[in-house]
Symmetry: C2
Subunit: 258 residues, 2 copies
């Protein structure tokens, strides 16, 4: 038994492509449909109500592409809209939070878990029993490609200072952008604290589910990957390639939703 429909993945923008990168690594022959809501990015500063509305519109678009499951590759949308989407949609829905939390608990034993993310993700409390610090300036720096600047290092140091008092054993990178500056974060936080990458966690959880439910594709060769965005600029293309780690020239299409 097999299910050859594509896996659907959405994000508020292009950060979710770090999930696509992980999925491609461990499920190379699966077809993928990605939607980045670049016309309305970022979700992290918006109200709960608006984030839920946008997330539904994103998921509905993916369903028109006949996806077999949906990965919410956005921490903000996962924290605010995942429970509603899981209840309302007819396909399995995965979010980046649950799997990351399970991995962090395993790694940290009984130790404390730290988390960094957008203001909305931290405020949602979705990363339960973690010590969260909102780092709203990291996304703009990363999207500008300013990842080696002294100013970014100052900003990161300033944010992570908040963990000095709380002895944490693991730190969840609670925003899809952060793996891009994982080395800088590791250097600043130091002290043998283990970093948890939710993009890896959700990809492994999705693979496990598809195996257990006999929903893997049995197609041979490299899967077909289609990337949709709600707004397209030259800049988005280069940012997309930074996240994905390879060129997608000609594979990025614009759609209007909402």
């Amino acid at each position: 038994m097999a299910d050859n429909r594509p896996i659907g993945i959405f994000d508020s923008g292009l950060g979710g492509l770090t999930v696509v990168r992980e999925i491609i690594k461990i499920l190379p022959n699966e077809d993928l449909v990605y939607l980045g809501d670049t016309a309305r990015v970022p979700y992290g500063t918006r109200s709960k109500e608006t984030i839920i509305k946008f997330s539904f519109e994103d998921a509905e678009f993916l369903l028109t592409k006949n996806v077999k499951c949906i990965i919410i590759a956005c921490n903000t949308a996962s924290s605010v809209a995942a429970s509603v989407l899981k209840k309302e949609l007819d396909v399995p829905v995965f979010d980046v939070i649950g799997p990351a939390l399970r991995d962090a608990r395993m790694i940290s034993g009984n130790g404390k878990i730290g988390m960094i993310g957008t203001r909305a993700t931290v405020a949602s409390g979705a990363y339960k029993d973690t010590f969260g610090i909102a780092c709203p300036l990291l996304v703009p720096f990363i999207e500008e490609g300013e990842i080696n600047s002294g100013a970014l290092e100052l900003v990161v140091k300033n944010y992570l200072k908040g963990f000095e008092k709380t002895k944490i054993k693991a730190l969840i990178l609670g925003c899809t952008h952060y793996p891009i500056i994982e080395e800088l974060i590791r250097r600043v936080i130091g002290g043998g604290i283990k970093l948890v990458n939710p993009e890896k966690s959700v990809s492994i959880a999705t693979k496990k589910y598809l195996i257990e439910h006999k929903m893997l594709s049995d197609k041979q060769g490299q899967g077909r990957r289609t990337y949709f965005v709600t707004d397209l600029t030259d800049r988005f293309k280069s940012v997309a390639e930074m996240f994905l780690g390879h060129s997608i020239n000609g594979y990025l299409k614009k759609v209007i939703i909402g």
Copy 2:
């Protein structure tokens, strides 16, 4: 003769409230209707096509409030969508660019004019014959209220370095947020370079037009000011008050457009 309809002002978010602040100073008895498209802010990173679509939707909302004129208080929308709006709408449309350019030319004499703004504003070339530098990280810092941080100073120094080779006489603050850090910019740029604030320029130009066309209000006392946003969070309220310089508790209403 008088025209007691309100003045309409729109912006991609809350930065345009720096225009409201100037209008209130010089036209205190005019009624105002402000729309901030906070559900879709920022416009500065989006495509031309999308910015024009959003700007039309903003203007159409203001027209339902029976405004006598419209001020585009957003540099990005002014640079990309002003000419289309001026052609298509039945009320006078003012943008922040023309008046600022005229003021900068007067101040600089025959000297060169510098401009800083978002990526989209600079790329549009709308500030004609100026030397533009895109400063995309300034808006996130200002919206986070991180206006006294060492990291911001580093970022500003780094951007303004670009003016070292070109001897400019005046610098246009080509983004509604920048007046908030005017003192920092003045300190870093130094050298007797005069700063031009487009919010002041457009307010004076609007007043002049209304006088010449006998369209001023003849109402007595303080005008009625109504603020609409397309998304509302507690944070937006405090950011709005930072831009406006006074409390608007109870005057911020949410509307859905687009």
